[in-house]
Amino acid sequence: MKIAKEGKVQIRSKSKFLTLIFYISLVILSSCSRSASQRGLIVAGSTSVQPFADRWAEVYMQKYPGRIVNVQGGGSSAGIQAAKLGSAQIGSCSRELREDEEDLYETVVARDGLAVIVHPSNEISDLSLEQVREIFAGKIRNWKGVSGKDKTITVVSREEGSGTRGSFQEMVMGKVRIFKSAIVQDSNGTVREIVANDPNSIGYISLGLVDKRVKALKLDGVLASEENIFNHHYKLVRPFLFVTNGPAKGEVKNFIDFVLSQEGQEIARKAGLIPAGEGER
């Protein structure tokens, strides 16, 4: 260990400061050199829409190398907020816009059926809308109340603010609240997981996400299928919206055009959604 000359000492202490300043400038410089457009197009919002938006983005970016689309979750309401504030160019949501959101520009990119699901082993395959409402309201607590086994029903719902829950509330529950002791999970996939593992459960998810591990109930005798949505027999349908602050322009328009194109809509259909043009109420 040497004792430096006076000059060297000053360099030493200076170098510590310099390192600190270096770190700080690294951070600041990076922020200056990045403009919004280099971040790419941001699509944020509904977790229901997210997997599909991601698929669209994937194909879009393959088709047009150099263009970037970033898909985020966060939820329908957050997506709308983001679009309003500009933190995302496109907000995605899985429910109709509310009155106070009407000033935003919406584009229907697909439609999605809402399926009420139970465990595959559940003997019940058909319920009336009324019964579903009573179950989710907590009035019917046991499966035997709808001619099933003598087992307590495990009700699974989505969290407040979810577009899926909003649609379910609007289309099934009406003014009746979903009861407090319902299990709450924060995405379609999680709800499906729970219903797939609990023989006594019931829940609602995006029709496009129904797979072999859960069973979609017939509502009032109508099977939840694409066909039945087209011919308006199955009533639980909600729009997937891309919301923008004003009409879409530039990059945003390019992406939305792609999504609405035949290729984009084919992707939607293959993934389990209803193409935007059909199934309108």
Partner: protein, 285 residues
Amino acid sequence: MKNLQRNEKLVQISLLAVAFSAVSILAIITVFIFEEGSPILFKHGIKNFLLGLNWYPTEQSFGLLPMIIGSLFVTLGALVIGVPFGLGCAIFLTEFSSRRLRQIIKPIIELLAGIPSVVYGFMGVIILVPFIRKTLGGPGLSVLAASFVLGIMILPTIISISIDSLQALPPSYREGSIALGATRWQTTKMVLLPAARSGIIASIILGMGRAIGETMAVIMIAGNAASIPRSILDPVRTLTSNIALEMGYASGEHRQALFATGIILFIIIMILNWIANITSARRKA
């Protein structure tokens, strides 16, 4: 020479500024949380907020009581598991095992602390929840599941701080007691534990803080029903899950309500930390 002095002064001042970073961050966080959350507390009234039974934010109903009770139950449950096992391990490792054994086991317990909470939650979902559902009934996502997993998660905290407290006791305590003819256990029970009491209590309180603050694992296994659980097999929602579940979706008043939940949580944890500090300070005095 004067240059050297000046540099030294400069260094000292900048280090002081740096040292205040932690405090400033704490201050900023406090300011932000309170700023975002208080408007709604004033608008709806703190009493309604804290004692209200109904959490339906989209309909302007912001009752937090079920979640407060939820956090309470789950934390108490965690302590029921964490304290006996934690204290038991600590006592075993300090009083009834060889140095070798201690050197092997202590790192293992520290490893427990390093496992991410989502992995704990995952194990709970895959193994514990179905087990509870099949053998005890209910949906499995329950107070019981959450307490169990949280209990395991706070073990390392309780164990390591209790070990430190016990090891910090002067050897004369042990020696004196043994010299009087007591067994090691009698020594532990009647001399050491009372003497290390404040440190042990501090460890428990810190464990409580950890349990109350845990989010991810709880979301995965507690069921998140916004109602007061009537048995340990009922689903439950804690203050932390409340925030995490709805944060992404919330806007306007809903979001403020979540921040207000954050305020409540923050205050509870600060109080716990303060108590823990005082208790362990008393030990040092």
